[in-house]
């Protein structure tokens, strides 16, 4: 993980400069990618680092989106909506962490799946609050007194700011003892408990923090699109994030970046063939699982090792993940 530092800074620099050369549409795609990076980081923490299957990431995202959208309708400042949405997501993440303590993988998949669908149904039916199937339009972008983030370029930088916050905090958490505890749970849950790792505390935290990040992403997603409806938060969306983290590389810090990039850019590249994109995507997923079950980050590792062996003799074999 430590070696991710330089590429991250380089990526940040790139992100600061790109808006100067990109047209409006491409800027939108980049903004969306950043939002997806946030969401993927959250799921990577829960699933990749702590090994807890979560198929309801879209539901946590929805909590963030709708908090911001609904409160925005009442002229509440954007940041208040975001904090509230994140707090809601965090709380529900905790709630869902409890079944994680009692049941095994496949059951956990079902509990989280069920939660996703419940949230979707509530969003669709509670028309007075959420606008039902019609959703909410004209979701307000943040305003800081005289400074408005309404323009696409300004909002891009706003998103970039939050992305940096999320990435930095994730980096900080995963490099702490918590990060090590999460990985221990993923590697060998029983042994972890026997050396004092409280499965209860850490699993709850894994769910809650992952959910909080999803809420953050959701809160930024809503004003980016400008309009939200329940259809954006179905099981398919949760599966999309699952794909992102697995394709990128589960439990690796670089994973969510790679995964979000691939999943967002690929449809753009295949734009001409609407329906075909999904088929190629599906084939790509299957082929990747067959040949690179640990994710595209394997290619990244290869590139890294190649460049290192060129510049200096290899030192240690392992690296912090």
């Amino acid at each position: 993980m430590a070696r991710a530092r330089w590429p991250l800074l380089a990526a940040l620099a790139l992100c600061l400069l790109l808006p100067l050369v990109l047209d409006q549409y491409k800027l939108y795609v980049l903004s969306l990618t950043l939002v997806y990076v946030i969401l993927a980081i959250g799921l990577n923490l829960t699933l990749g680092y702590a090994g807890q299957i979560s198929l309801c990431h879209a539901a946590f995202m929805a909590l963030g989106s709708y908090a911001v959208a609904i409160l925005g309708q009442h002229r509440v400042p954007f940041e208040v909506g975001l904090v509230l949405g994140v707090a809601l997501a965090f709380t529900w993440g905790l709630v869902l962490g409890f079944p994680a303590l009692k049941v095994k993988h496949h059951y956990l998949a079902m509990v989280t799946l069920g939660f996703n669908i419940i949230v979707f149904l509530v969003l669709r039916n509670w028309e007075s609050l959420t606008g039902g199937s019609f959703g909410i339009s004209n979701v307000a972008r943040p305003v800081w007194g005289p400074v408005s983030f309404k323009s696409d370029r300004a909002f891009y930088f706003y998103i970039l700011g939050w992305t940096a916050v999320v990435v930095a905090s994730a980096y900080w958490i995963l490099h702490s003892r918590w990060g090590r505890a999460f990985r221990a749970i993923r590697e060998n849950e029983m042994r972890a408990e026997v050396v004092g790792v409280s499965l209860r505390n850490y699993k709850l935290m894994a769910f809650a923090i992952g959910a909080a990040y999803a809420g953050t992403g959701g809160a930024l997603f809503a004003p980016l699109l400008g309009y939200i409806d329940p259809g954006a938060y179905t099981l398919d969306r949760s599966i999309q994030f699952l794909m992102m983290v697995v394709l990128g590389g589960l439990g690796r810090f670089e994973g969510p970046f790679i995964g979000a990039l691939v999943v967002t850019i690929l449809p753009e590249v295949l734009r001409g063939s609407e329906g075909l994109y999904l088929i190629i995507y599906a084939l790509a997923v299957i082929i990747m699982m067959l040949f690179m079950p640990k994710g595209l980050v394997g290619l990244w590792d290869l590139a890294w090792r190649f460049s290192r062996s060129r510049s200096s003799p290899s030192t240690s074999s392992a690296s912090l993940r």
Partner: protein
């Protein structure tokens, strides 16, 4: 009261179909630790095959049925097992799960793109004429579905409990390593299980085609229902999947009649969550102690 009974029968009728899909699902999990996220599409594909053989090529019904089952077992049974499962199982549960998700997307969108995004009508196999049993009205179709499913499931039960191959399957389900040591060819058995699953989903497809209409995206709901049924009823027992399937069918039909259609799914979900919190192994499931 008569209404209620009629609804229950209708529920059991559709539930029997769900049960077949759920049983196959459970069989796959038991013998090979495969969580098949493409189970719904495993029903959709043979449904389209039925349309091809029965409606388009105008085969006689039994021939179309046989052809469908054969196509299903070859593609979704042997094909999937040899190409995907054998390789991926070694890497743990998650890569295979993702691969089945990919597979479901592949089947679903290939059908949409290369065949049609529209719903294809399918003629009823059994007549929809009402039959009067006292004050209760049922259709031949409902009775037909129940009987057909019952026969299939009974045959399956016989196979598993009375044949050598069936015993071998049970052995593998209980303790793979031990079964292998005892000389059972585990790999071959996994293939047989996949073939059985493909046959079951093909049968489910034949029954469900007239009820649901054949469309590329009906697999999503079906797959979920198979999953629910297995979890509610009992993931590690065939009778659990059977119970689960019937329950889902009955609850769904009753909810649609008595509760507004928006919340139809929610009711089944509340039951699901209750089961998971109170008896996570399923109503007829057996507790799995920590290995």
């Amino acid at each position: 009261m008569a209404d209620f009974v009629q609804l229950c029968i209708a529920g059991v009728s559709i539930g029997a179909i769900y049960a077949m899909a759920a049983i196959g699902f459970v069989l796959l999990w038991q013998t090979s630790n495969t969580i098949n996220f493409a189970q719904g599409e495993f029903v959709v594909l043979p449904a389209f095959a039925m349309v091809l053989f029965f409606v388009i090529l105008k085969f006689p019904f039994v021939a179309a049925m046989l052809a469908t089952v054969i196509v299903s077992t070859l593609l979704l049974g042997v094909g999937v097992k040899e190409l995907l499962v054998t390789r991926l199982l070694k890497m743990g549960v998650l890569p295979l799960v993702i691969a089945t998700i990919g597979l479901s997307l592949l089947i679903r969108y290939s059908l949409q793109q290369f065949w049609t995004p529209l719903a294809l009508p399918f003629p009823a196999i059994f007549s929809r004429e009402p039959i009067f049993l006292g004050t209760i009205v049922v259709s031949l179709e409902e009775i037909g579905n129940i009987l057909f499913a019952a026969v299939v499931i009974a045959l399956l039960q016989l196979f598993i409990t009375r044949t050598k191959l069936g015993w071998a399957m049970q052995a593998v389900a209980q303790n793979r390593a031990l079964a292998s040591v005892l000389g059972i060819n585990v790999a071959r058995l996994v293939t047989i299980t996949f073939v059985l699953n493909a046959a079951l989903t093909a049968m489910a497809a034949i029954l469900i085609a007239p009820v649901y209409l054949v469309k590329y995206d009906i697999g999503v709901g079906l797959g979920l229902k198979a999953f629910y049924a297995a979890i509610i009823g009992g993931f590690n027992q065939i009778r659990g999947a059977l119970l689960g399937g019937l329950l889902v069918g009955v609850v769904e039909t009753l909810s649609a009649a008595y509760i507004s259609s928006h919340f139809r799914d929610a009711f089944a979900l509340i039951i699901l969550i209750a089961v998971l919190l109170l008896k996570p192994e399923g109503i007829w499931g057996v507790k799995e102690e920590w290995a």
